[in-house]
Amino acid sequence: MSAAALPWPWLDQSQPARQSIELPAGELYEAAQSLFSHGYRLALAGAVDAPAALRAVYLFTAGAPDRRVELVVRLMGEKPQVPSLAALSFPASRFEREMKDLFGIEPLGHPLPRRLVLHQHWPEGWHPMRHDAGPTPEMVDEAAPYPFVQVQGPGVYEIPVGPVHAGLIEPGHFRFSVVGETILKMKARLWFLHKGVERLFEGSDVRSALELAERISGDTAVGHGLAYCLAVEEATGTQVPARASELRMILLELERIYNHVADVGAMCNDVGFGIVHAKALTLRERLLRLNASVTGHRLLRGGVRLAGAQVAKLPAPREFESIGDQFHDLVDLALGQGIVMDRFTGTGALSAADAEAIGVLGVVARASGSSFDVRAAHPLAAVAPEFTTSGAATGDVLGRFRTRVGEVDQSLGILADLCDRPGALQVEGVLRQANGSGSGLTEGWRGAIAHRAEVDAQGRLTRMKVVDPSFFNWPALAIALKDTIVPDFPLVNKSFNLSYAGNDL
């Protein structure tokens, strides 16, 4: 069968692994439907307000082998509209609401087209990502209060929490409707941290913007930094030396273990088992010092470079064995405590079907039975260690705890392997100067991160779209809380440990 006879080019295996297809708005729904039915997922959707025209871009990915299809819809006129994909994909429905807020693109047929990113005190009709948005307008009193659904019935009461919390937590508002202690409904209101990160990228030089990418979410410097570099490298057609990919993989796994270790401790702390928390913080400090010795920065900033990577030194492989021992001491202490096991087991369960329907990513998805991992589906060139899922897919807090433990073990294995390979510590490839667009996917410690960059011929970014896995995962938290009691919420929340900064952007 020839390619021309196929209804959609992505069905032809001989087509390149990267395709960008411009199509009229009327064909978008069918095209998306076909992509979904052929195993693609929607990794990212966003608009681009180029001087020529407003475009809506949908990035679909599948792997392995790594395939990416971009659907581009050109939008004309005063009232840009796209057909809503909400019926096909829940994440798409949220991307569409984001596009509506930031670009004023109306999703036709969207079941819930209300605001997502912009809070109610921003005036109607102001879309900050449009090139003609103008200066930031004055905030107005909430003309339309946030439409919290009020659950009514005998004995139902509401508990509002946040956005200012008692601990060192990022801001988010949670509204619980509770009867007795059982949560009937939980609504999370986010985007208190929306700071216009994507706009900050625009117009800046691709090299200097790497620093911004590393600061999108402080605990994911490597994940976002790497996704950014991959996107820019693809946009400019830059080749990355194989050794650089090895070094990047090392940095990515170092970031994973220090964060997972902290989470394992924090989950125990939330059930009052502070000694594991203290031990986990001790181990985390050891890992942060290790990070500092590797990159000169405790949070691993500066290791990933455009077209390359650099480290000061690499740890000896046996170091990871000793870290593993220390880690398992504290894990055994936690799982040997009956009350901790009782608190973890069955709490905040997210079923595989719900996880799939919501499009959950990363640790949370794998704890609910998903096998999706960017490291396997879209491997970094020449570095493809064997990944096995850790088989702790119970979907509850215990599942997420064990998934983290399994991933730390896996990462330690990968690190011991990679640090044993000989090679340069500083690899500098040549960053090509060319205009284009490209996408970068990495498995950050929370899950799949997607960046999409558009670069002009002068090496400046004209548009960046950033997606943190937290954007996909936040709605799942409310679902997992079904039948959970109020005092278990902090534990379930911690077991998800989603980013506010990465979500709110």
Binding site: Y157, A166, D270
Partner: protein, 319 residues
């Protein structure tokens, strides 16, 4: 009764209250130090809670706008009831002034007044957390109460009285009753109840910052400044008092007649040593336990109740 003994008894009662008020915060500091030690931290100085109190007492009063007179009254009532309970309980001497009124039932309900006004104040603050904490605290209190009452009944067998000084006195005279099943069962029940009533792990986590998991802390979340200082003192005194009663029921040594100053001094030292030991033991236990699921607490307290019933039954059967 001669006048000097009466004066001694009055002095002992005053000493008991002062020792509680000053010693209780230090006890808290000590328990935090123990936890810090096990967690590999240096921890704050043992006297830090006293410094915190001094700081709080100097701060301005801040009260919720919508609160009524209950809110400011609750901390005073709490401290007052604990102080009265502390004055009449056999802590330093078996014969404090007004010891005759230290019936265990009266003592329990005296302490309950403090808990009740705090729960009322939690609701009075008008916040969701206050009401939530009050609801949880009252639930736990209601579950702990039957266990406590049955246990008191068992304790009263040996002394043929439910008067606490009399029970301690009887134990001093007949230490062999400590080894009877009824005493051992009551001890188990009493420990659980003390832990539950004073909001320690595994029932409540006094160190948490997570409002939604709080029981006791949620109730007092709106308190600040001198009000908070009073609540903190009252709570610390209650913990120390409960531990003091517990150790004197279990190990009534050093608790003598208040007939001389050296006797009172000896009583204070003995009390400090025993309560410190109990506090450290509790802190060590807390390090290695975790907070139970809220809905498991009825099982724990039902267990305490069963121990109390066993104590009564064995008290009736084993003579």
């Amino acid at each position: 009764m001669n006048a000097s003994l009466l004066a001694g008894e009055a002095l002992a009662a005053v000493v008991q209250v002062v020792a509680l008020a000053l010693g209780a915060p230090v006890l808290l500091g000590l328990m935090r130090k123990v936890r810090a030690h096990f967690e590999g931290r240096v921890g704050q100085p043992v006297v830090q809670p006293l410094r915190d109190l001094r700081k709080l007492f100097r701060k301005e009063r801040m009260r919720p706008d919508q609160a009524t007179w209950i809110f400011p009254a609750a901390p005073v009532v709490l401290v007052a009831t604990v102080a009265v309970a502390g004055a009449i309980s056999p802590l330093v001497t078996t014969r404090p002034a007004l010891g005759g009124s230290a019936d265990l039932f009266a003592l329990v309900y005296l302490l309950l007044i403090g808990s009740t006004v705090l729960a009322l104040a939690g609701m009075d603050s008008g916040t969701a957390f206050g009401g939530m904490g009050a609801s949880r605290a009252v639930t736990i209190g209601a579950l702990a109460e039957p266990a406590l009452l049955v246990t008191i009944l068992a304790l009263s067998f040996g002394a043929h009285s439910s008067n606490l000084p009399a029970i301690v006195q009887a134990t001093v005279l007949h230490p062999e009753i400590l080894a009877t099943p009824q005493r051992l069962f009551s001890l188990g029940a009493l420990v659980v109840v003390v832990v539950a009533e004073s909001g320690r792990l595994p029932v409540d986590n006094p160190a948490t910052h997570l409002e939604l998991t709080m029981i006791h802390e949620a109730m007092i979340l709106e308190y600040a400044g001198p009000d908070l200082a009073l609540v903190t003192v009252g709570e610390a005194m209650r913990l120390a008092l409960l531990l003091g009663i517990l150790v004197n029921v279990v190990a009534p040594w050093g608790v003598g007649a208040a007939d001389s100053l050296p006797a009172i001094a000896l009583g204070v030292v003995a009390l400090a040593v025993k309560v410190t030991a109990a506090g450290v033991a509790l802190a060590v236990f807390e390090v290695f336990t975790a907070k139970m699921r809220l809905f498991r607490l009825p099982e724990l307290l039902a267990g305490a109740f069963m121990l109390g019933v066993l104590a009564v039954v064995s008290g009736l059967v084993v003579r």
